[in-house]
Point group: C2
Chain length 220, copies 2
C-alpha cells in the first residue's frame, strides 16, 4: 500500500466508481481503453482520470491506454474487494432489512454474518440468508465471531451507546444509517461512514430549485 | 438566490449537514453559537465553517456568533425545505419500500405521491401512506400529477429507458438507487443524484484496510 500513502480522500472516494465502470467495460468485452474514452463514459475529464490513476503509480501506457482488467484488479486490491470482512447489521427495520437483502456483500469484500434487533418478534427471521437474533446475544456473538464492520440502522438515540459498546467489542468500522453523526475523532483507529440519505435528497432538491432559478433569469 | 450563484458544489453538498446540526442545537435550546463551537460539534475547522457560510453573504456577527434559528432558516430556504415537490418512486422492492416508509419527505421539501412497480402482485399495497400502482398507469399519473422527482429503485437494465420516458413526462430530478449512473450530460435541465450504496461500503472497507496497513507499519 506504499504507493498510495499520500492519496487524497477525494481520489479514494472516486475509486469505487472507476471500479464499477471498469467492470462494465469488461462485461462488454472491452480490454483496453484510453483515458479520453473512459472520461467520455464517466462524464469526467481525461485529465482527472490521468491524475487520479497516476496517484497509484500510473497503470496506463502512453499511446496504448489502460489495460481494463489489470487496472480494475489493481483498484479492487486497493479497495480490498478480495477481503472477507465479517459484518453485522444492527436494526432489522425497513432500511435494515433492505440493506440485508439488497447488497451482494461478497462483491465488496464483506460477509454479513449476524443481524440483531431489539424487537423480540423478529427473532429467528431470515434476511439475506442470515438469522435475526435478539440484542441480548450481541455481546457473545461478537466475542465468538469478531465482526469488523457494524451497519447501524437504528434510531438516533440508540446509536451512541451501541457504537461505544461495539467499539469495545472490537468493531473497526461503522456503516452508519442512523440519524446520528458518529464523531470519527472520538474513535481513533475506527473507520466511520455516516450515510445520511436525507442529505442526499436535500442536495437533489437544491438542484431543482437552482435550475429553476437559472431558467427564470435567462439574462444572467 | 443571487448571493449563491458562484457557490461551489462542495459547499452546497455540506449545507444539509449544517442544517441538521443547527436543528439539533435548536432542539437543545441553543440559540446562538460561535464558529469555533459549531466546528467542534461538527468535527470540522472553524475556518471552514466561516468560509462556507460567508459564501451566502455571511450570517454571523463578529464576536457574537451565529443566530442558530436564523442561520438554519436561511440554509433551509437555500435548500428548499419549504417546497412541496411531488415525487414518485419507481420500484417497490426491498430498497424501494424502505425508502417509501423510512424518510419523512415533508422535512426535505418533497411529497411522495405515487409508487409504481412492474410486479402486478404489489398493486394496491400501501407503503408510506401511498398506494402501489402498476407501471401501465405511470404515464397517465404523470400527466395528471406532474411529479418533479423520480426515485429509482429498479434493476440497472431497466433504468435508461425509464429515465428517458420520465424526462419526457416532465420529471426534473432523479434520485437514482439503481446500479446505473444516469449520465447528467445527456439530460440538460435535469438534476441527477446517483446513490451507489456499494461505493459507500467499498470506501468504508478501504478505510479498514488502510488503518490496518498503518498499524502494521508503525515506523512510518
Amino acid at each position: 500500500m506504499s504507493k498510495n500513502e499520500k492519496i487524497s480522500n477525494s481520489v479514494i472516494r472516486r475509486l469505487p466508481r472507476y471500479y464499477r465502470f471498469l467492470g462494465e467495460l469488461l462485461n462488454e468485452g472491452i480490454t483496453k481503453i484510453s483515458s479520453r474514452e473512459l472520461a467520455e463514459r464517466m462524464s469526467v475529464t481525461a485529465s482527472q482520470i490521468r491524475q487520479d490513476l497516476n496517484c497509484f503509480g500510473g497503470f496506463g501506457q502512453q499511446g496504448y491506454g489502460y489495460n481494463v482488467s489489470e487496472l480494475r484488479g489493481e483498484i479492487g486490491a486497493i479497495l480490498g474487494v478480495n477481503e472477507d470482512h465479517a459484518a453485522i447489521l444492527i436494526g432489522a427495520g425497513n432500511l435494515g432489512r433492505a440493506l440485508a437483502v439488497h447488497l451482494d456483500y461478497g462483491r465488496y469484500g464483506c460477509r454479513l454474518c449476524g443481524i440483531f434487533d431489539s424487537n423480540e418478534n423478529l427473532k429467528g427471521e431470515i434476511l439475506g440468508g442470515v438469522k435475526v437474533s435478539p440484542m441480548s446475544e450481541l455481546e457473545s456473538f461478537c466475542i465468538k465471531n469478531k465482526p469488523i464492520i457494524a451497519m447501524l440502522c437504528i434510531p438516533k438515540d440508540a446509536a451512541p451507546e451501541i457504537c461505544e459498546k461495539l467499539t469495545e467489542l472490537g468493531v473497526k468500522a461503522f456503516w452508519n444509517f442512523s440519524h446520528y453523526d458518529i464523531p470519527q475523532k472520538n474513535l481513533p483507529g475506527v473507520t466511520v461512514e455516516n450515510v445520511h440519505l436525507g442529505d442526499s435528497l436535500m442536495y437533489l432538491c437544491y438542484g431543482i430549485n437552482d435550475k429553476r432559478a437559472s431558467d427564470e433569469k435567462p439574462e444572467n
